[in-house]
């Protein structure tokens, strides 16, 4: 009887598989992705309107006012607080792909040496959520003034080092230690950060978007978001006002992924909230998780989602800037 069932099962499986996928079924094209380069699923929802607005501004009044053109779409970050210490940045890695070579590496020192009164009353508006390292224009201007006189913390002038310091120092993703790509245009800087796999291949974990915090060409870089890749964080909306708990979600392409979400603010070295190990996977599959947080004092929070567990604990990440008050 066992043999009979085995024979029947084998025949049934064969018939089922062939009926589902006949021999004449055409093989669809393989949608591969470049090694170390996440498949681009599209930029964040806020990117297109901003780019469009920027383009209009370029045509109308020239590149010098491009940033101002997007003001109307974003609320102005509060700009009255004094510069304060930043979370620890202890990176000892020099970005391999960054352009200029700062004279010293990122430190944990805040740009607090500059006189607060040096901050000019400027109509400049960042146009994005200021995630790190400065909370507002005054902090950024204070660093710029101090840097001009004493050369303090030159890494703020380097988009690659700022992106890497943000990743390692602020987000705490120490194993992501390499700048994998650099693209700077009038939209800002798009910096790929990642790691080398055991065979020396370069893997991109995220592409961070940075803009200069100030109208001057030597204004420091500020991280304002990440470009969507095969792992995205789309909810809550960029710049939306949130309260705890937040329903966080997006899309992911991958196999056996495990998503961890944390909420951070500049004022605290530790996360305000965290939820771990949500299973996910598939092709452009939606994912969602609820995360609670407490102790928020900054106007702007960074929501971080990470996934990994195949090669490294964290292989890819994405961020979203949200607000605690409108």
């Amino acid at each position: 009887m066992t043999h009979e069932v085995e024979t029947m099962l084998a025949a049934a499986l064969d018939a089922t598989a062939t009926a589902a996928v006949p021999d004449d079924r055409r093989v669809p094209p393989f949608i591969g992705v470049g090694a170390g380069e996440p498949a681009v699923r599209g930029r964040r929802p806020w990117a297109s309107p901003l780019l469009a607005a920027a383009a209009v501004a370029v045509v109308a009044v020239g590149a010098a006012v491009t940033v101002a053109a997007v003001r109307a779409e974003r609320q102005s970050p509060a700009g009255t607080s004094l510069p304060s210490p930043l979370p620890g940045v202890s990176s000892q890695h020099v970005p391999s792909g960054s352009g200029s070579a700062p004279t010293s590496r990122p430190t944990s020192q805040a740009p607090s040496g500059a006189p607060h009164s040096a901050a000019p009353q400027s109509p400049f508006d960042l146009g994005f959520q200021p995630l790190w390292p400065f909370r507002d224009l005054q902090e950024a201007t204070a660093w710029r003034v101090a840097h001009q006189s004493t050369g303090v913390q030159p890494w703020h002038s380097d988009a690659g080092q700022t992106a890497l310091s943000f990743t390692q120092g602020y987000l705490g993703l120490r194993a992501i230690d390499t700048v994998t790509s650099t693209s700077i245009d009038q939209d800002g800087a798009h910096i790929g950060v990642g790691y080398r796999d055991p065979n020396g291949g370069l893997r991109t974990s995220a592409v961070l978007h940075l803009v200069r915090f100030g109208p001057q060409s030597d204004a420091p870089w500020e991280v304002v978001g990440s470009d969507d890749t095969s792992f995205s964080l789309e909810h809550p909306d960029y710049g939306s006002t949130v309260t705890s708990p937040i329903t966080v979600g997006g899309h992911i392409t991958g196999v056996d992924e495990s998503i961890t979400v944390t909420v951070r603010q500049i004022a605290n070295p530790a996360p305000l909230g965290r939820t771990c190990c949500t299973p996910a996977g598939g092709v452009n599959s939606p994912w969602t998780v609820s995360v609670s947080f407490s102790g928020a004092t900054d106007d702007v929070l960074t929501v971080l989602a990470t996934t990994g567990g195949h090669l490294m604990a964290v292989e890819r990440f994405t961020i979203q800037g949200v607000r605690t008050r409108s």
């Binding site: 029947m8 049934a12 018939a15 009926a19 589902a20 996928v21 393989f30 598939g282």
Partner: protein
């Protein structure tokens, strides 16, 4: 190793049909099976440098298909999608099943009622023709567990199918 010489696109073209057939036996519907297989080859593309040998590539894909299928089923079981596979509640089969002979349809439906591991082992054994060692490697279990799952699965099928004859 030659992982750097791996031509994933060629492997995909050569094995796509077989892998989708394999996946459809685990997840039931063809569209999902195609997604799972596409995912598996993308994973191979990304992780090819970690493979010990080119021969390991299809073993990797097979395991990724199993894992991807489990993820799909897990999602369905959490209620986000229709419940299709495991459990006595599962309903009508997929469209292509109308093409099957009654006894084949009955056998496949009985298979789908088996616990996940037994189902996976039987598909690998009686459709893929994998050895116990290969099944163990694909599922990440011991050969003893493979034998045990296969034995229990066949015994259950005997009871269900034999009782109706």
């Amino acid at each position: 190793m030659a992982a750097g010489e791996l031509n994933v696109a060629a492997l995909y073209t050569a094995h796509w049909r077989q892998m989708v057939r394999f996946a459809v036996l685990l997840v039931e519907d063809v569209a999902t099976a195609e997604d799972v297989v596409q995912d598996a080859f993308v994973a191979l593309y990304r992780h090819q440098h970690q493979l010990r040998s080119i021969d390991a590539a299809m073993g990797y894909v097979r395991a990724a298909v199993v894992n991807g299928s489990r993820s799909v089923i897990r999602k369905r079981q959490t209620g986000r999608r229709r419940l299709v596979l495991a459990g006595p509640e599962f309903g009508a089969g997929a469209d292509y099943e109308v093409l099957l002979a009654a006894e084949h349809r009955e056998a496949v439906q009985a298979l789908r009622r088996l616990p996940r591991r037994q189902r996976e082992v039987l598909v690998l054994r009686y459709w893929s023709g994998s050895s116990e060692a290969e099944i163990a490697a694909t599922l990440g279990i011991s050969t003893g567990s493979v034998k045990s799952a296969a034995s229990r699965g066949i015994a259950t099928l005997e009871k269900r199918l034999g009782g109706r004859r």
